[in-house]
Amino acid sequence: MPDIAFLALSGLVIISAIFALEARELIYGAVGLAFSLIGVAGLFILLGAEYVAMFQVSVYVGAVVVLILFTIMLVRRESGRILDEEEPGRLGRAGILVAGLVALAVAGAVLLLVPVSLGAPEFPHVSLQELGRLLASSYAIALVILGLLVGATIVGGLTLVKVEREEKSTGATQ
């Protein structure tokens, strides 16, 4: 019997994502995204990656969604609503039908050809203390590159602030 928690969390992820795509207001879309990402964090927990799950919540839902919300709020209110969409025409409906059939075909092929069990997979359990050691040894190069990337991003952000302030104080673009 498949794990109820897995089904519930997967349902949360998918339904929230659909809601985020179909919502009339962009703000609701961002909220749907937030719920979807929380569901993903729950899936991480089911896989035993609690540490990653916590930072998934903290980085994605706590920071990225906040940035998205802030950006939406800066857009003027009239365009905050998605304009009325037309009903998909005949071509559109045929397209949806084809997309659905293709999805079914792919899913069927995967289920038949690849040995898939519906329970949680066996995962190698890495203790938290191991993570740091692994990062410094096996993934050392990746860590340094990541550090450089992050440093560049910070400098970029600061430069943006500096440029904007300079534009404001001089009063004209240069």
């Binding site: 980085v59 940035l67 800066l74 938290l128 440093g151 910070i154 952000g157 602030v161």
Partner: protein, 120 residues
Amino acid sequence: MGLDVWSLFAIFEVVVFLVAFPLLVFGWLMGARGKNPIRDAPFESGQTHLGEARQRYMMQYYPYLIMFIVFDVVAMFLFTWGLAFSGMSSSQNYLFLIFIAILVAPLGYASYLAGKRELW
């Protein structure tokens, strides 16, 4: 009962929900009295409100949000370092210290910019 920690967390949240949700419903039902333009206006200390409420406030601070995302990810890696710190060899520690140094340099730059007030 031998439940794992996340089930306990879920149960606790359900308990909070079971208290909060009926309270909200109760409060909503207690009041509903119909529309009244004076009561329903946003509060502006007695003045009638003018202009859009949703404007571009505090937009100049948005780089802070970007930096927050960046430092959030950094914190994730730093915590893995902190957890493994006592068990790691010194060369591995130096690697993480290089990582921190790469990040502290822009932070120093930020402090320097902060000193020049008009730019921060």
